[in-house]
């Protein structure tokens, strides 16, 4: 499953006898009705070579070409490309001087992703960890967790949506080259958003529902993000297992109270929802291993009820709320939601879950701060 289709230009090459991969394409075609339709469409609509005299106005515009540099240390507000290869060393050091083994992890020949550095490097366990957020230029797709920088905000002269839902820490070795930085207004905007005081108008619009295409990124991009966040997750998890007094919070796939198990759903018993697309720092093992595309939802299928939804920060009220995307009440009529962060636990009022409604949980809490989300049946 999850076989990717060739892109349309691959089929155009094939039709015109220019493809080096004709045999592979034919093999794919035999099992792919969608590509057969596309090929028929291309065959039926011949298009002549297009005029391109207009392109002369872009030719020689070297001010549009970025220059890559390799300074020793990344700094806040700089744009860096991730490295295309990385290997986690076999050992890391505890803060108190001991050491612990790390699982084997590496990647190579991976697409380089443009990242905005939002914190200075922090040494821990023998690594220099850097807080970063990925950026993409498709600002029209910005959601409420994307903060938009305009073209004049940076030396790259392009608009960006900084994807704070995908904020993570990377090892210095995972960063390759610096290509630019935020400028005056952009730096101010970054500082204000990091101080939780960002310009409201720079955030994107909330997702409509689970079918909103903005809730999904391209698979190769998600693969890159998964690979980028994995070293920190693995090191943090290994450190916690080794018993270090780490100031990185302990990472676990949801709990000893494993939420994947269907439980008896007795009144008052807390059941854990499972993240389909958790903020990356939440579920290390899942994040490192899962190949599944994940749309940012929490779900629980218990015997008393089924609940699927999304955590959102309501910018108007400042409340973290749970938006109900799917609900089926079997043996329960009212629920209470419980959220755990690294520092505290919060609970909603008891409520009767209704499709497309939101349940406020806690004021001023960002979805990315949530470690675990639970639900209990209220009698």
């Amino acid at each position: 499953m999850d076989q990717l289709c060739p892109v349309p230009v691959d089929w155009l090459d094939y039709l015109e006898g220019r493809s080096k991969f004709a045999a592979g394409l034919e093999n794919h075609l035999a099992g792919c009705p969608a590509c057969r339709v596309l090929l028929a469409t291309l065959e039926a609509t011949p298009i002549a070579a297009l005029p391109n005299d207009w392109a002369s106005s872009f030719r020689g515009r070297l001010d549009g070409v970025w220059h890559e540099e390799r300074p020793q240390t990344p700094a806040r507000a700089e744009f860096w490309f991730s490295a295309s290869r990385y290997e986690l060393p076999g050992e890391a050091a505890l803060n108190n001087g001991g050491g612990f083994a790390l699982p084997s992890f590496s990647y190579e020949n991976m697409n380089r992703t443009l990242l905005l550095v939002i914190g200075d490097p922090e040494p821990q366990h023998g690594f220099d960890w850097v807080d970063v957020v990925p950026v993409l230029s498709d600002v029209e797709r910005a959601t409420e967790t994307d903060y938009v920088f305009s073209a004049t905000d940076s030396s790259l002269n392009a608009p960006w949506r900084a994807m704070f839902a995908h904020q993570t820490k990377v090892d210095r070795g995972q960063l390759d080259t610096r290509v630019g930085s935020l400028l005056g207004n952009g730096i101010e905007a970054l500082h204000s958003v990091l101080d939780d005081n960002g310009d409201e108008s720079r955030w994107g619009f909330p997702l409509e529902d689970i079918y909103d295409p903005r809730g999904y990124e391209a698979e190769d991009f998600e693969d890159c993000l998964r690979a980028l966040r994995t070293p920190w997750l693995l090191v943090s998890e290994a450190a916690s297992t080794a018993g270090t007094a780490s100031n990185v919070f302990v990472l676990r796939p949801p709990g000893p109270e494993n939420p994947t198990e269907r439980t008896s759903d007795k009144s008052g018993q807390l059941l854990w929802l499972q993240p389909r697309l958790a903020p990356p720092e939440m579920v290390a093992a899942f994040a490192a291993a899962s190949e599944e595309r994940k749309p940012g939802l929490w779900e629980l299928d218990a015997s008393a009820f089924r609940l699927v939804g999304r955590l959102k920060l309501n910018k108007q009220t400042g409340f973290l709320a749970f938006s109900v995307c799917e609900v089926e009440l079997r043996l329960a009529s009212r629920l209470r939601l419980v959220v755990r962060t690294a520092e505290a636990e919060y609970a909603s009022e008891a409520f009767a879950p209704v499709l497309d409604t939101s349940v406020p949980i806690a004021r001023g809490l960002a979805p990315s701060a949530v470690h675990q989300l639970g639900a209990e049946v209220v009698s």
Partner: protein, 321 residues
Amino acid sequence: MSATLEDLRSEHEAEFIGPKLLALVERVARATALSYPRSYSGVGVWNDESIADALQGWVADRLWGRRDLTNLLAGAASLSALRSGLTRSFSQYLTSRRERTSATNLYARTVKMLRTDATFAPVGISSKPNEQLWTLASDPKTGPSTADLHTRLVAAAALTNDDLNVVRYGATSLKSSPVLREPTLKVFLEHLLAQLGALTPADIIEIMRRRFGLLEPESVELVAELDAPEPSPHDIASQSLITQSVAARLNHDDSRLLSTLAAEEDLKAAAKACATTDSAIRAAYKRMEMLVIEEAVEPSEVDHICGLILGLLHPESRNSV
């Protein structure tokens, strides 16, 4: 001989876009455009001229304007990855261009309604249409609203999507159609002016943009004469083209599952034949339906076009409409 990734990078560093890159982006545009319905062309048909227009707009807006070309060339680990990235960039260009047109249509209809419906009255006279203040004729105000943006958005949110029959994502909604149809557009405008006082079209557009999550309008003068028709249902030929374009943009797994569903004509039998679950096939159907909803004008079209797609994906189909 095709250019290698290194060839393309060298050319980019020397002249931003030279003949090798131009040849590649032209082929990406030619092939990708044809996988989208003709409504994405801006002129109702994909031909040499409309594809050339889209190519030029894409290069100016994205490859240059957003540095997509530089970013993709620097980031791609392979020529294949570059081609995929360029395809995605062009697809996003086509999609946002169409959504912007749809939003602009709504804004234009708003201005037209303010000018032609006696419910609304101008406050003074402005030489610039976007700066003309409008008020309710039944409760006229003499100066501009003093409400801040937050207050304006709260007022706009007081009418729910259900109140306004908002046309959005969902099983029976049509995202790309104008968000509000005539009767509810008028209700919305009356509500805003009653709650907030006199507003300019620019004020109203900003409120609507944020309330309904729309793109900014195209840089055209919003005048009453601007053609901004209500959408009309597609004819048979258009439905066939939508059928073909949606089928061509399904992912591999979904097209395989739906092809089996078309052959088996039964959900459980199809699930068994594909060694998967009923819900997996339902989800594939839903994703297909969402693509159709992007194109359909009336809810009744959705089921019909979905049926046409299943027919096209049937293993015994000739895969053309």
